[in-house]
């Protein structure tokens, strides 16, 4: 005989009060316990991880900060530091040429230059070759390989920075792009900030008159501004121009292609399919070469068709084709009911798309679209193969300069950082946008 226990039933049901979770599972301590040292194995992994991080970060900091050269304006400023360690204790002194000698006690590693007291740490920058020291005599300083501490030469970046940013844009006219990009960034920031008035108008301004104003500011030739032909535009400026034109052009074009691909009208549908599939199936480099070589064939002979413009058209259509496929994915992800509800309210195709379908489809697709835009921002570096001088090209030209040869490490790090800054901002903004537009369903 088994007895089933049905428990007790309250005659009047009152829900139990909510209790806080156990203390050990919340707060910093709870987090550390749950994530870093839940058991001995994970604790070991945590320790090893910390060790690896320390090794990498300390090495990086030594190169980039502690041993780096910041001051100066020529390659001379970036001679490696050499620590010469002497073997006897001596007092601090000043050599006839003004070099300070400081006390330090360690074992000797190198031959002591004549005239220098032993056992000092000579903190003067010298070269590993005979050098003139105190009293007009020459001393040979032998330096062991591992005592040449090579820090980063940021002097190169400082000296060349203007060219990284502006390319060969004339020095006296550089305020023009600076103003345009600055105002553009401010307006974009204004447009993207919640709760400010007239954001729609700012967006319209950015979309329509602004590019025209920007164009005339860049190229000049009007209102007494000096004409600057666009083969002089370069560096980060060019990178920003190409990517922002490509992005603002590709989004509407891509949406149009995506809608066209789903059209019931066969001619429109087939046209869009051909455009999308063609541009997606060809590498970007090929598109760039084709923009250079093939596009002029379609134009009346003698038309002078700007090189930059050709690149812009090619890149924009290329990205539009990708955007179209991403948007199409978003359209397909929307439940049929959304279309039906909009139809049933009598909205009509364009209002339905604008008010109901696209806002939702684009929201779903924000991560993918932003990935595309991050991709295009980085892909602008490919334009160097058709002879445009973007940021990366300007850096490489700098390294190719005999004075700065061998400093590609510094150049690539800075290029990387600049690209990272832009791409990471885009990525963060997209994450913010996703959170903001998430309406709990």
């Amino acid at each position: 005989m088994s007895q089933i226990d049905y428990g007790e039933t309250q005659a009047v049901f009152t829900p139990r009060p909510d209790l806080p979770p156990p203390a050990a599972t919340v707060g910093v301590l709870g987090w550390v316990r749950a994530n870093l040292v839940p058991n001995w194995f994970n604790a070991v992994i945590t320790l090893v991880g910390l060790g690896v991080i320390y090794y990498i970060v300390s090495g990086l900091l030594t190169w980039a900060v502690f041993d780096a050269h910041f001051a100066g304006n020529s390659r001379q400023a970036c001679k490696p530091n050499v620590n010469i360690v002497m073997d006897k204790v001596a007092t601090t002194g000043i050599l006839p040429d003004g070099t300070t000698l400081q006390l330090e006690t360690t074992a000797a590693r190198v031959a002591v230059p004549e005239g220098v007291s032993p056992n000092v740490r000579w903190e003067r920058r010298i070269e590993p070759r005979p050098q003139r020291v105190a009293g007009g005599r020459y001393a040979r300083v032998a330096v062991e390989e591992d005592h040449i501490i090579e820090g980063a030469c940021w002097v190169f970046i400082f000296v060349r920075f203007d060219q990284f940013i502006y390319g060969f844009y004339p020095k006296d006219e550089r305020w023009r792009p600076t103003v345009v990009i600055g105002v553009g960034l401010l307006l974009i920031f204004y447009m993207l900030t919640d709760g400010l008035p007239h954001r729609g108008r700012v967006a319209m301004f950015l979309l329509l008159p602004f590019p025209v104003i920007a164009y005339f500011m860049f190229s000049g030739g009007v209102l007494g501004l000096e004409y600057v032909s666009n083969d002089k535009w370069g560096g980060l400026l060019l990178t920003i121009i190409i990517s922002s034109v490509a992005i603002t052009g590709a989004l509407p074009l891509g949406i149009a292609l995506a809608l066209g691909r789903r059209s019931v009208m066969p001619i429109i549908r087939w046209f869009c399919i051909v455009v999308i599939e063609f541009f997606r199936s060809v590498p970007m480099i090929t598109i760039l070469f084709m923009a250079m070589v093939v596009l002029p064939l379609f134009l009346p002979p003698g038309t002078v068709f700007d090189q930059l413009l050709r690149v812009l058209i090619g890149v924009t259509i290329f990205i539009a084709a990708y955007t179209a496929e991403v948007v199409r994915g978003g359209l397909q992800a929307l439940p049929k009911g959304q279309y039906e509800a909009a139809d049933a309210l009598g909205l009509g195709y364009f209002k339905m798309m604008r008010l109901i379908i696209l806002p939702q489809a684009l929201r779903i697709m924000i991560p993918a679209i932003v990935s595309l835009f991050i991709g295009i921002f980085k892909d602008t570096t490919l334009v160097q193969i058709v002879g445009l001088n973007d940021l990366l090209t300007m850096m490489q030209l700098g390294v190719a300069d005999a004075e700065w040869t061998g400093l590609s490490k510094e150049g690539y790090v800075v290029c990387g950082l600049i690209f990272f800054l832009f791409c990471f901002s885009m990525s963060r903004y997209s994450m913010y946008l996703e959170r903001k537009l998430h309406t709990g369903h």
């Binding site: 959304q338 509800a341 309406t439 709990g440």
Partner: protein, 265 residues
């Protein structure tokens, strides 16, 4: 398929619901195919202004398709559908005219998740009826009060329960001031506790004289509110009658079988 018989403790006075002689919908010899599948066969149906019609039948009998033809969510291939004397054809102008006058409530609500409850209600009046925003919001709030959720106006649909969402969907349709309301299984996706709140709103609507065609398995609602019950099977209207007669004295053997299956649990 499950039929529920939600206990409706509201008194419904059918004598107050006037049916006029004016014809709201006239369907003549209508046929529809999905590819080669003949889904609606020779449908003839006349609905007068002020009628409350419940359409029932087994799954796949074509009842949803029928009411979706009335606002052209589905296209019919043969026959004629007149809604308020406007013929539904490929003429987009006619389709838009009909859709402005016909409201629809779906099984899965189909609210616009990126808009607040109030914006869901004001969207069509503003963009289709070209109504000023302030006026549209006034009307929106009025109908949200009608469906008893004005306090949710500024929430998003995803934050509401199913029953609340369906009531918003009803309010959204009412904001367009439709002459006819179509309900496509409005309570099938709801928990039992929520079915009642939706049905009560629908009863309220019937009492105000709305012409309604309701596809539902809620037989209690049919008994109380409908003036006519239509039974469909295999794409045909098998039988239609007053609810009393329909439930107590079904004429077709197919109707008898259907009723015996859904009414004896």
């Amino acid at each position: 398929m499950s039929a529920t018989d939600t206990e409706l403790d509201v008194e419904v006075d059918q004598s107050k619901m006037k049916i006029s002689d004016e014809i709201a919908i006239q369907i003549t010899d209508m046929n529809k195919w999905y590819g080669s599948f003949h889904v609606l066969k020779d449908i003839n149906l006349t609905v007068n202004q002020g009628e409350r019609i419940v359409v029932c039948g087994p799954s796949g009998s074509g009842k949803s398709t029928l009411i979706r033809c009335i606002n052209r969510l589905e296209e019919h291939q043969q026959g004629q559908i007149l809604v308020d004397n406007v013929e539904l054809s490929n003429d987009l102008k006619n389709i838009d005219a009909v859709r402005r006058e016909v409201g629809m409530v779906f099984q899965h609500f189909n609210l616009f998740p990126h808009l607040t409850v109030l914006e869901n209600c004001t969207l069509a009046p503003i963009w289709v009826r070209k109504m000023p925003k302030v006026e549209a919001e006034e009307i929106g709030m009025r109908f949200l009060e009608t469906v008893r959720i004005p306090e949710q106006a500024h929430k998003f649909p995803g934050q509401l329960s199913g029953g609340q969402q369906q009531r918003v969907a009803i309010a959204r349709s009412l904001c367009m001031n439709p002459r006819i309301m179509l309900f496509d299984e409005p309570t099938s996706a709801l928990d039992p506790e929520m079915i009642k709140e939706v049905l009560e709103v629908m009863i309220q609507l019937a009492e105000q004289g709305m012409t309604m065609i309701v596809v539902t398995h809620e037989m209690g609602f049919a008994r109380k509110v409908a003036n006519r019950v239509i039974f469909m099977d295999a794409g045909e209207i098998v039988e239609q009658n007053e609810p009393e007669e329909f439930f107590n004295n079904p004429k077709s053997d197919r109707t008898q079988l259907f009723l015996s299956q859904i009414l004896t649990h």
